[in-house]
Amino acid sequence: MSDQSATRSGFPPAYLDRVGSSFTDFLATAAPDLLPGRRPVPTMPVGDLAPHGTTIVAVTYDGGVLMGGDRRATMGNLISSRDIEKVYPADSYSVIGIAGAAGIAIEMVKLYQVELEHYEKIEGLTMSLDGKANRLAAMIRGNLGAAMQGLAVVPLFAGFDLDAAPGTAPGRIFSYDVTGGNYEERGYAAVGSGSLFAKNSLKKTWRQGLPADDATRTVVESLYDAADDDSATGGPDPVRRLYPIVYRVDAEGAVRLTDAEIAAVADTIVTERADADRRNTERGA
């Protein structure tokens, strides 16, 4: 392209250069201001001014992987949202859940979704699951400066591996740290402020090769346990009909479980806990 064409409408020269199939890399040359990692980092900690999302859990089961998240966002001591959604489909065979500064995290999810779709359209192929996990790591790495000022974003990534060798589990989970470290998890994982309690719960309830229904229960129960002990994690809210968001990814793709399904699971857990508690009290009396 000649230099003059840059001043006219139509495609700017960068658009016609056939290099790379990454949307993020392309934005870095064509419109760097749109990238979350390219902005000036705040000079003082601003963590308490921005809403933060909290607990996300993911578990594998016999046909794939499940990911769930509670619905609370907090800002310092306030609950800034009761119905925030923190688990999203990344593409048709993977899901992403986010903990940390909600504004940056949601922007990053949006960028990541476009990144995967862009690659798919340009290459005519879906990216491998490991490739997807790596692209996400690169995005987190770019946010380290903001993370140091209290705007950390820590995602959890899970997907169905279409290239999995026969006999291996197709559902895989990847966790991250603020520096962009990328770790594959075995069986289950949790991130966010309530992750300690959620993991403790999963440690007791999760087993290798659970069927989907039982695995869904372990997810909802671990979030219930996290909400029990962590003030920043929201429990099931039958008054407002707000329940955790759970996505299931299997050979058919990623689907969000309906509120009715999750409500039934959550109600069962609450009833069982109440019964157990009553029995304990009666025994003690």
Partner: protein, 290 residues
């Protein structure tokens, strides 16, 4: 003293047009046809990886004829423009008109300013909520853009194919009917079927075709390739009733995904869209007329 060579602007433009037209006419044809549920792309294309038809955005598709390397870079530019716009505004703010305008400007600039014009002809199709709102834009090598009703035909024998379609096209045909009308029109002029009178094949087969649809009934991404047994069934090559169910499975979201558990690169050879690793890397070697 040598006289500086002079050519009138008119002569230069005429030469360039002729050059571009010649390049395009060597390629095989592509037909873009509207049908009841959206827009159907049919390309005569023996390659299963060097696509002439592609997805631009949720409701927007792309088809091209001519020099592969040139229309491929235009396709990528279109995907980039759509994704940047959708990311910085909203997904609904990406329209076929925006993409078609950008192509028109770019092709026009290349035609007037560069020695060699692009030897391509493009179609940008957008599917709406109702058949009346479907849009087909045809873009030629000099940057002219035409909004066409019903169908667009591009490539070597475009006029003959257009004539054939004009006779047989009916608005609101089903997918199978529209496909068969389109394939018959392409077959009528294809060199592959030239020997039909002497017992050769009279119609293009699934392996020689690249077929895709923009299906308005699909949520979000409307683009879907139709390959393998689903295509053979629609063409009537292989009337197996159970294969009809395969049709929706060939999704745009997983365009080239092998069956779960198949190692990369070992797709079903009968189904051209399941090939694993090898793919677009080959585009430069085969940069001639696709």
């Amino acid at each position: 003293m040598t006289m500086p060579y002079y050519a009138s602007a008119e002569q230069v433009m005429r030469d360039r047009s002729e050059y571009a037209r010649k390049g395009i006419s060597r390629g095989r044809s592509v037909a873009v046809v509207t049908y009841a549920d959206g827009v159907l792309f049919i390309a005569e294309n023996p390659s299963s990886t060097l696509h002439k038809v592609g997805e631009i955005y949720d409701r927007i598709g792309f088809a091209a004829v001519g020099r592969y390397s040139e229309f491929e870079s235009l396709r990528v530019a279109g995907v980039r423009l759509a994704d940047v716009r959708g990311y910085s505004y909203n997904r609904r703010d990406v329209t076929g008109r925006v993409i078609a305008n950008a192509y028109a400007q770019t092709l026009g600039a290349i035609f007037t300013e560069q020695m060699k014009p692009y030897e391509v002809e493009l179609c940008v199709a957008e599917v709406g909520d109702r058949p009346e709102t479907d849009q087909l834009y045809r873009l030629t090598f000099d940057g002219s853009v035409v909004d066409e009703p019903d169908f667009v035909v591009m490539g070597g024998q475009a006029e003959a194919v257009t004539g054939h379609l004009r006779e047989h096209f009916l608005p609101g045909m089903g997918l199978s009917d529209a496909l068969q009308v389109g394939v018959r029109a392409l077959s009528a002029v294809s060199p592959v079927t030239a020997g039909a009178a002497h017992g050769g094949p009279s119609q293009l087969t699934a392996a020689q075709l690249e077929v895709a649809v923009l299906d308005r009934r699909r949520p979000k991404r409307a683009f879907r390739r139709i390959t393998g047994s689903a295509l053979r069934t629609l063409l009537g090559d292989e009337p197996t009733p159970d294969a009809v169910d395969d049709a929706p499975a060939t999704s745009a979201h997983a365009p080239s995904v092998p069956e779960p558990g198949t190692p990369a690169g070992l797709g079903d050879p009968a189904n051209p869209d399941t090939a694993g690793g090898a793919g677009f890397d080959a585009h430069d070697e085969d940069g001639g007329e696709a």
